[in-house]
């Protein structure tokens, strides 16, 4: 299915957010996720299903002021 990952259109196989992070090679890093603008805590990733057209944000630590 087609979803948006960090603003870019992506064709992905996984539906479950947990599996999707593995597929996108984000699994083993300190990252936080949001689907369609809503925060999805780590503990809820396994129970979160994505649908066609959904927007996923995967954010990582970065320099800040």
């Amino acid at each position: 299915m087609k979803i948006i990952v960090n603003g870019q259109p992506r064709e992905v196989r996984s539906v479950c957010l947990d599996a999707l992070l593995v597929e996108l090679r984000f699994k083993h890093i300190a990252a936080a996720t949001a689907v369609n603008g809503a925060f999805v805590p780590r503990a809820q990733r396994a129970a979160t299903q994505l649908e066609e057209g959904d927007s996923l944000e995967v954010l990582v630590p970065m320099q800040g002021g």
């Binding site: 960090n6 996108l24 984000f26 300190a30 944000e57 990582v60 630590p61 800040g64």
Partner: protein
């Protein structure tokens, strides 16, 4: 200085952005003596290598992190970013920024108060990036904030304390609230002034990161903050308009 349940010795909080290299960032943080550094969350390509490297570096410095919601222009964005930051950085602290205007990065104080209320209710310990406005300050405290961070000048300008009267009023009005001047400082003398005015700490980034030698500038700011604090504690003299000789007049020879 006590902020929320944490006692801080250093009165200088430092940003981690815009340094020429990770090594220079490390040198600057060490030279500053800061116990708190600000960090952020951003998108990264698959794999997240840069973010991981940055996070490893910050973790190795042994400092506390204060994640920000920089760049957020709405309450929803800021609240979601704060929730994400709490999970990644494992801290209830959040430097809350809700930007209202692009040219000056002036806080949207209405959105700021609303976001502060939501986040405080969710257990966050909010450090609001605000203006020197007294009414906004009242509202932020009522929303649950236990510290306020008024700007000295717009972020990244280096203009220093552009409204000394406003800052002085804020200090006088809230004598018990930890107040941190956040943003707009360009020179150590401005940081010293903020401390002399009675502020509890200063937070800055660009002035150090964009200096020709960030580590030396970080040290200069640390010294200035310490000097300003010591000067305030020493109870400064009152200024006066007319000269008063400091050398005793009594006993002066008559030679002319």
């Amino acid at each position: 200085m006590r902020v929320y349940d944490v006692e801080l010795t250093s009165r200088l909080l430092l940003g981690t952005a815009q340094y020429p290299s990770p090594a220079i960032l490390t040198a600057a943080v060490e030279a500053s003596g800061s116990e708190v550094v600000t960090v952020s969350l951003r998108r990264e390509a698959a794999g997240g290598r840069e973010g991981q490297a940055f996070w490893s570096l910050i973790s190795s410095l042994g400092v506390r992190v204060l994640p920000n919601t920089a760049g957020c222009h709405s309450v929803k964005e800021a609240v979601t970013t704060a929730q994400m930051a709490r999970e990644v950085f494992d801290t209830p602290w959040i430097k809350l920024e809700v930007i209202g205007e692009t040219d000056t990065l002036c806080p949207d104080v209405f959105g700021l108060v609303e976001a502060a209320r939501i986040l405080s209710a969710e257990g966050f310990q909010v450090f609001p990036y605000t203006t020197e406005d007294l009414v906004t300050a009242e509202r932020l405290l009522a929303a649950g904030c236990k510290v306020l961070m008024p700007w000295g000048a717009p972020i990244g300008t280096g203009l220093g304390l552009t409204n000394v009267y406003g800052l002085r009023s804020l200090r006088a009005h809230f004598p018990e609230v930890p107040l941190i001047v956040d943003a707009g400082l360009g020179l150590p003398s401005q940081a010293a002034r903020a401390m002399e005015l009675g502020f509890d700490a200063v937070l800055l980034n660009t002035a150090v990161a964009k200096a020709g030698d960030p580590a030396v500038m970080a040290r200069a700011f640390a010294l200035a903050v310490e000097a300003g604090l010591a000067a305030r504690d020493a109870d400064p003299m009152e200024p006066r308009d007319m000269a008063a000789p400091s050398t005793p007049v009594l006993g002066k020879a008559v030679l002319g």
